[in-house]
Chain length 237, copies 2
DNA sequence: AAAGGCGATTGACCAAGATCAATTTTGGCG
DNA sequence: CGCCAAAATTGATCTTGGTCAATCGCCTTT
C-alpha cells in the first residue's frame, strides 16, 4: 500500500544480461551506449500491494519493469477505480508532459523495476535520437492499445469483455514466456472488474458461466483455456 | 462517405502564415526548417461526411488538421462504433507502428488538412530530433487523454459522461478560439453517443434533463452553458 | 409556401449488469 | 490441524440505460 522501505541493489548487474534487454526501451542502444546506460538505472524491488508511484505525484523517475506485474489505475474522487492497464516485464512507465504521473501504479505480487532518475535519463536521451525513437514507438503502441480498450469499455458486453481480456492477457504472456498450458491471473477479481468496467460479481459470474460451458477451467491463481475457439467466438461477437 | 475527388491547392501558402503554426507539430521548427518543411505538405479539403482514412488502410500520409472537426473511430465487425476522439485544428494524425492506421477518420463538416507523404516526412524527421520530440509530446498527451477517456467509459454514469463531455469540449474550443458564448456541437447526437459509450436516446434524454434543470440551453447546432457550476458538479460526482 | 426527410426527442417497456446480502472457498498462521 | 480473514462465488432483487416505436421539429428542396 504505502511505499515502504525497498531494497536497492548495488550496481552489480549488467544491462547486457537483462531479462528484458530485447524488448525494453534499451533495445535501441548498442553495446557501448549500454555500458554508459548501465549507470543510470538501479534495480528496485517492491512487494505485493506496494505503490510504485501515485497519480499527481511529481515525476522524478522512469521505470522499466523487469519482473512481476503491476496495475496501472486512476481513481475518481469517490473511490471508483479504473485500471488503465497491467504492466509486464519490458513495459516502460513514467512518460508524461505535465511533469506529473497521470495514473498510479501498484505492484501485484513481487515486482522488480529498473528505475531511472528523470534528469540524467533526460540528458542521456538528449543526443540519442534512437532512444527517443524507441520511446516514441512504445508510446504509440500504448496509444493503439488504449484505443482498443476504449472500444472494449464503451461498446462490448460483459461476456465479450471477459473473453477478450482472457485472450489478450494470454497473448501477452505467450509473447513474453512462450507457450502456456494454464493462464496465470495474478490480479484479483476486483482488479479484473476495474479493468473491464464491470463489478466483481459480474466477472465472477462470467467466469463461472464460461466454466459451465466447458470453455475454461478455473484453477487456483488462474484459468485453463479448454476451448479457445469458443472463447474467441465470444470475444468477437 | 466515400473518399470522392478532393481539391488540392497549389503550394501557394506559407507555413509561417499557418493558422495552427503555434500549436501543431511544426511549432518545433525554426524559420529555415519551416521553409523546407513547406514543400512537404499540401492542403487538402474534405467535405462533410468524407472519410480521410480508414482503419487498416496502409498508412501513406500523415495529417495535420488545419480547419474543421473530424471524428476518429473504430468499428466492431457487427457495426458497433466507438469514437475514440474528435480531432480539431492542430491535431496530428497518422502515427502508428504497424504501418496501418488503427482507426478511421471522417470529416464532420468541411475540413482542411495539411497532408504529408509518409516517406519524405519520415526522412525530414530523421535528422531533426526537435520534431521527433514534438511528435512524442503529442503522442504522450493523447495517451493521457485516452486514459482519462477510459475512466469515463468504464466508470462514469450517463449523466457524468454527458456533463464531462460538454465541459471538455468547451475547454478544447476555448483553448482554440478564446471565449465562447455558446458551445457549438458540430457532431451529431449519434457521434456523441458513440464517443461516450451510450445510445443516442440516452444522450438526448440527458441533454433534455440538463435543460429542464436550467443547466444548459439546447440551441441549433450546439448548446449554451447557462450554469457551468451545476454541470461541473454533475461531471465531478 | 408546401412537402419531404432526417435527425432529435419522447414514451413505454425490457434486460444487462449493479447492488445487496449471504455463503463458500481458500490460504495464512498459530 | 483447525481457525480466522480475505477473496470469491452465488442468489435475490433493483436500477440504469438500452430497445422499440412513434412523433416532432427544423431545414432543405422544389
Amino acid at each position: 500500500m504505502k511505499p515502504s522501505v525497498v531494497a536497492i541493489e548495488p550496481n552489480g548487474y549488467f544491462c547486457s544480461d537483462c531479462a528484458v534487454r530485447g524488448s525494453a526501451v534499451c533495445s535501441s542502444l548498442d553495446a557501448a551506449e549500454l555500458r554508459e546506460f548501465e549507470h543510470l538505472g538501479r534495480h528496485v524491488h517492491f512487494t505485493a500491494g506496494e505503490t510504485v508511484f501515485s497519480e499527481e505525484d511529481i515525476t522524478t523517475s522512469f521505470y522499466n519493469v523487469l519482473d512481476g506485474v503491476m496495475r496501472l489505475y486512476k481513481l475518481l474522487p469517490d473511490g471508483r477505480r479504473q485500471i488503465v492497464g497491467f504492466a509486464l516485464p519490458g513495459d516502460f512507465l513514467g512518460m508524461n508532459i505535465s511533469g506529473r504521473h497521470n495514473f498510479s501504479a501498484d505492484a501485484i505480487g513481487a515486482v522488480t523495476v529498473c528505475q531511472f532518475a528523470k534528469v540524467p535519463f533526460g540528458r542521456f536521451i538528449e543526443d540519442r535520437p534512437q532512444l527517443l525513437r524507441r520511446i516514441n514507438e512504445l508510446a504509440i503502441r500504448e496509444l493503439s492499445q488504449a484505443r482498443d480498450h476504449m472500444v472494449l469499455l464503451g461498446r462490448r458486453s460483459a461476456d465479450e469483455k471477459v473473453a477478450t481480456f482472457l485472450l489478450g492477457w494470454r497473448q501477452r504472456l505467450l509473447a513474453l514466456r512462450g507457450s502456456l498450458d494454464t493462464v496465470p491471473l495474478p490480479m484479483s477479481r476486483q482488479d479484473i472488474a476495474d479493468y473491464l468496467g464491470l463489478t466483481i460479481e459480474t466477472v465472477s459470474r462470467t467466469f463461472t458461466k464460461l466454466e459451465r460451458h466447458g470453455a475454461i477451467e478455473i484453477i487456483y491463481g488462474g484459468i485453463r483455456l479448454l476451448d479457445p475457439a469458443r472463447v474467441e467466438a465470444l470475444a468477437a461477437a
